[in-house]
């Protein structure tokens, strides 16, 4: 009686090596990172967010090794919205370049001391910069859960016109709950047709149900980390999400 959802597949974006490692006090050696990426690749994880090239030569060397050793997964790098970050990413030649864009007023005005015009101008420039080199680009809406949904729609329209197909909806401080993420994801998809990737944090212990509800609402990609490591109370736990989403997919198919 409640089975009305039609979902075939959930694409996992593993960010253990980027957001996971950002967990305070955590640092992987290069060999460990390569080993983790190999494990993800062997298990057909759709995409591995391998690191932040601008952090330096060690990080870049590591990303290059991951790229050289992979067979199945797509490899992406994480960038702030500036050309210097992107230039370092180009050095690594990843499959996907991810650009993170601050979207809430608190991030734009209070943290960066900029305004929305500045955001839009830089966004266009950075997307063009990476697209011009032939890269697939995905855009991350940082702090999307505290942003004005109409602003997110405007940004989606801008990047879509530049041939960006996917945006990441980041619940940066982990304040969503299922009914709220449903509204947001549906509104974005209905108004813009872009693909949505959900990036949840576990501050209120809801990263998994938020991610699942986003999938039910049309999100095709889910960000996870091994053991749910990440800032503060962590991210969506990869192993648990796979276990639970498998039960979910099985139940809605029956």
């Amino acid at each position: 009686m409640y089975k009305r959802i039609n979902i075939n597949d959930i694409k996992i974006v593993d960010t253990t090596l980027r957001d996971g490692e950002q967990s305070a006090g955590k640092a992987f050696s290069i060999d460990e990172k390569v080993e983790i990426a190999k494990y993800m690749d062997e298990n057909n994880v759709y995409q591995i967010e391998a690191g932040i090239p601008v952090m330096g030569d060690l990080e870049k060397e590591c990303i290059k090794r991951i790229l050289a050793g992979r067979n199945n997964s797509l490899i992406s790098t994480w960038n702030r919205m500036n050309k210097k970050d992107l230039q370092h990413s180009f050095d690594c030649k990843p499959d996907i370049i991810h650009i993170s864009v601050p979207t809430s007023d608190i991030q734009i005005y209070s943290n960066l001391g900029k305004d929305k015009l500045w955001i839009e101008k830089n966004l266009r420039e950075c997307v063009y910069f990476a697209k011009d080199k032939g890269y697939e680009v995905t855009i991350g809406f940082e702090d999307a859960s505290r942003a004005d949904i109409n602003y997110l729609i405007d940004l989606c329209k801008i990047v879509k016109s530049m041939d960006v197909k996917r945006v990441r909806y980041a619940d940066t401080v982990g304040i969503l709950m299922p009914s709220l993420v449903r509204e947001a994801v549906k509104t974005i998809i209905d108004n813009t047709g872009v693909e949505v990737e959900i990036h949840a944090h576990n501050d209120f212990g809801m990263a998994i149900p938020i991610s699942l509800e986003a999938v039910k609402s049309g999100a095709k990609y889910v960000d996870c980390t091994l053991d749910g490591i990440g800032e503060r109370a962590g991210n969506c736990n990869l192993q648990e999400f796979i276990r639970i989403s498998n039960v979910f997919l099985e139940k809605i198919r029956n």
Binding site: Y2, Q22, G25, A27, L58, M177, M206, I229, I244, F248
Partner: protein, 306 residues
């Protein structure tokens, strides 16, 4: 939902009795203290087994108790309402009826399920959502948002129940509803709980993990210095914790400056980049954040003082 009375029954004591049996009977004073604390942080009732109730006598007077053998449990999943007609459940006083389970409702249209439950059982039915699929906190909150009045929890979610501290935190910080509880006691409850269970809770557990307000990433430290709400969902001091800046691979210049000032080291701004590079190398090599002594050594090395 502001102004609406919500009733939380916490059954940590029942689960501790179930799991540890005789073992916890050697810790009677600690259990008495735990009861007081769970009540103090915001649970309205303490559910307890009859045997433990007798053994713990005399119990704290200010705390309200419920005996666990007084409940009629209706166990079920998403189809819970299908077995009950409205007539069969037309009970004048369903005070002691409790719904237990609903682990899987996150897979379906849970709002419709809650609507049916309210229609069949009323919105003051005791709601005990379990956590097989990691959704107990989320679904308990959605039940409250749907008008539900009573929920059942355990501390740290022990036994696979809805975690008390997450529900309290969410009601306070997300729904912004003022309730009686004093969240500053969370670390004290944790300490006692770990002592009783002889188990350590994961350091990143929401609201009670010891490390949840440690911060290292340059971007986050930078934001937090300007305005803590950039990267903190709520003020750590509200749950009895303090923020701690960790120096490591992901640190930026601001964090390093804060740490050097804290260590009363006079540094040159121009040497910070070199130091940061060294911090990243050593942190990657050691596969962890660095302690104060290690930061001092890096300063000495980069200033040619070593």
């Amino acid at each position: 939902m502001s102004g609406r009375k919500l009733e939380i029954t916490d059954k940590t004591l029942v689960i501790l009795d179930l799991i540890y049996g005789e073992k916890i009977r050697k810790k009677i004073p600690q259990l008495r203290e735990l009861i007081k604390l769970i009540y103090a942080i915001g649970s309205d009732y303490i559910e307890i087994t009859e045997d433990l109730y007798k053994q713990l006598y005399p119990l704290p007077k200010e705390v309200k108790f419920k005996l666990n053998n007084k409940f009629i449990e209706i166990k079920g999943n998403c189809n819970i309402c299908e077995n009950f007609s409205e007539e069969s459940l037309y009970i004048n006083n369903n005070e002691n009826i409790r719904i237990v389970g609903l682990d899987d409702i996150i897979f379906y249209d849970y709002e419709k399920i809650f609507f049916d439950i309210k229609k069949t059982f009323g919105n003051d039915i005791d709601m005990c959502i379990k956590n097989e699929y990691g959704a107990s906190t989320a679904m308990s909150l959605e039940w409250i948002r749907a008008g539900g009045k009573k929920i059942v929890t355990t501390f740290a979610g022990i036994g696979g129940y809805t975690p008390l501290e997450s529900i309290l935190g969410a009601i306070g910080f997300l729904e912004k509803v003022k309730i009686r509880g004093n969240y500053i006691l969370f670390p004290e409850v944790l300490k006692l709980f770990e002592e009783i269970t002889e188990n350590e809770i994961k350091s990143n557990m929401p609201f009670i993990g010891k490390d949840i307000f440690n911060v290292e990433s340059g971007i986050h430290v930078n934001g937090i210095i300007k305005n803590p709400s950039t990267y903190e969902p709520y003020d750590p001091s509200k749950i009895g914790r303090t923020r701690k800046i960790i120096i490591g691979k992901h640190s930026g210049v601001s964090a390093l400056e804060i740490k050097l000032k804290e260590l009363e080291i006079e540094y040159k701004y121009s040497s910070l980049d070199n130091m940061l590079e060294e911090v990243r190398n050593i942190s990657t090599k050691k596969r962890r954040g660095l302690d104060d002594q290690e930061v001092k050594e890096i300063y000495m090395k980069c200033s040619n003082l070593a």
